[in-house]
């Protein structure tokens, strides 16, 4: 029986990774569309999200079928549960990429702040490399790697706090930048949330390995500071 189950599980994990790569691409394009004021690219991200949602439904359907029909226990059970849980995190990340793309479409700011845009670009790069690392840890079932990602998420939270602080400062100084800056705040907060979802995926990787549900990063709300 191992054969069938292993094959199905392998397929499931393959599809999960594929979905992860698509989501990473969505983050990149959404953020690029925002910085480049590229509404066409932004619309593509929004349109593409439907495909990501469908991928998630397919993954869930297959995972549920494996649970119902193969009735896995112990490690096999965990390996399926994490697909279910982590794929919903990926799907939410996709939604946040759409959120960024929507900001790009609404963008009306003639008054841009290069420094902030650079920082958003930097945050995007950090978030994407975190996502790639978590997918890698997921595939390799690498508990230590996953734990490192959880601490990288702290950095994203700090970046967000910094962008927020700077943006608010600029808004106070010059009312002309308020409209555009509101978008900066939104986009940075989307990126911060994406980081949290990646942190969740890292927690699922750890759960897969250890069987323990652990909160790797204590809830961190920089906006409450």
């Amino acid at each position: 029986m191992r054969g069938i189950f292993e094959d199905e599980l392998k397929k499931l994990h393959g599809k999960f990774t594929e979905m992860g790569i698509n989501v990473s691409e969505a983050i990149y394009r959404a953020s690029k569309s925002f910085i480049d004021h590229d509404k066409l690219l932004a619309q593509q991200v929004i349109d593409h999200d439907e495909q990501i949602n469908e991928e998630e439904i397919k993954l869930e359907d297959q995972a549920l079928m494996l649970i119902a029909l193969q009735q896995p226990v112990a490690t096999d059970f965990r390996r399926i549960i994490i697909v279910l849980k982590a794929s919903s995190d990926l799907e939410r990340i996709g939604d946040h990429a759409v959120g960024i793309a929507r900001e790009s479409i609404q963008l009306k700011g003639e008054h841009r702040i290069e420094e902030i845009e650079n920082e958003i670009g930097e945050m995007t790069n950090n978030v994407r490399s975190m996502l790639e690392e978590v997918l890698d840890a997921y595939v390799k079932e690498d508990e230590m790697g996953a734990k490192k990602i959880a601490s990288a998420n702290q950095k994203i939270d700090e970046d967000y706090a910094e962008v927020r602080e700077k943006t608010i400062k600029m808004m106070k100084q010059d009312s002309k930048v308020i409209t555009g800056s509101a978008s900066y705040l939104m986009v940075a907060s989307y990126l911060e949330r994406i980081g949290d979802h990646i942190g969740n995926i890292a927690e699922w990787v750890v759960y897969n390995e250890t069987g323990h549900l652990a909160e790797l990063t204590p809830d961190h709300h920089p906006e409450e500071k």
Binding site: M1, R2, I4, L64, M65, A68, L69, Q71
Partner: protein, 251 residues
């Protein structure tokens, strides 16, 4: 999907007592159909109608239509031996004949009049391989089949059935007398031979049905309550009775 066997309104009586109350069930080619239900629900009785095993029980009357490849199984013209060559059967208790492994598997071939020794040898080897027992018996083909473990005996019996290349194999609780590892081997071999054979399996083990079958039929009190794809039946049964049984509320 072509059906190997189709049945309509099958009723079986022990004397005046009706034990099967009109069963309509088809067996699609190259699929594993599981028959599940509590003891006394009629699943084994129904399975035995498919190769006329109930003919041997006195006082049994069967009505309705049962067709193999479109031909009436209960027609007076039907040669029962030829029928059982096409509709093989594996029982709960391994029942090898008390002679060598080779002769067990070759038995049906010789019975069918095959004399070509090379062909018999080839068929025996292929069948033992398909039954996933070749590696364990290949050096002891002349040993008495009864000297092997229960799980091996059951796989030798399966090889004996496969050797005559039946169109459909009926299995009546084939793993319930075996340990989990042996049972797992049989489940795996069933999945492996699926592209060449069609299987109808009666099982009390619902996990087994869910793991290996394509379609599942749920029997209760001599009636077919529900049938459908195994996925549908196990994940979203249409009947409450099916759901209750799968959840272990009775049976």
């Amino acid at each position: 999907m072509a059906n190997i066997i189709t049945t309509r309104n099958v009723r079986l009586y022990y004397g005046d007592h009706e034990a099967l109350h009109g069963i309509d069930l088809d067996f699609p080619k190259n699929q594993i159909t599981a028959l599940i239900g509590p003891s006394g629900s009629g699943k084994s009785t129904f399975l035995r109608c498919l190769n006329r095993m109930n003919d041997l029980v006195s006082g049994v009357t069967i009505t309705g239509s049962l067709k193999l490849d479109g031909k009436d199984i209960y027609s007076p013209q039907t040669d029962v031996v030829a029928l059982r060559k096409k509709v093989g059967m594996v029982f709960q208790q391994p029942n090898p004949f008390p002679f060598s492994v080779f002769d067990n598997v070759a038995f049906g071939l010789r019975l069918a009049g095959i004399k070509d020794h090379k062909l018999i040898q080839e068929r025996v080897e292929t069948s033992l391989k398909q039954a996933a027992v070749w590696e364990e018996v290949k050096d002891n083909l002349t040993d008495n089949a009864l000297s092997f473990s229960g799980g091996q005996q059951q796989r030798i019996c399966i090889a004996r059935v496969l050797a005559v290349q039946p169109e459909i194999i009926l299995m009546d609780e084939p793993t319930s007398a075996l340990d989990p590892v042996s049972a797992g081997k049989i489940e795996e071999l069933l999945l492996d031979i699926q592209d060449k054979f069609t299987v109808a399996i009666v099982t009390h083990n619902m996990q087994q049905a869910s793991r290996i079958s394509d379609r599942t039929a749920f029997f209760l009190d001599g009636k077919l309550v529900e049938t459908g794809s195994t996925k549908q039946l196990f994940m979203a049964p249409k009947q409450e009775a099916t759901s209750d049984y799968l959840n272990g509320k009775f049976g």
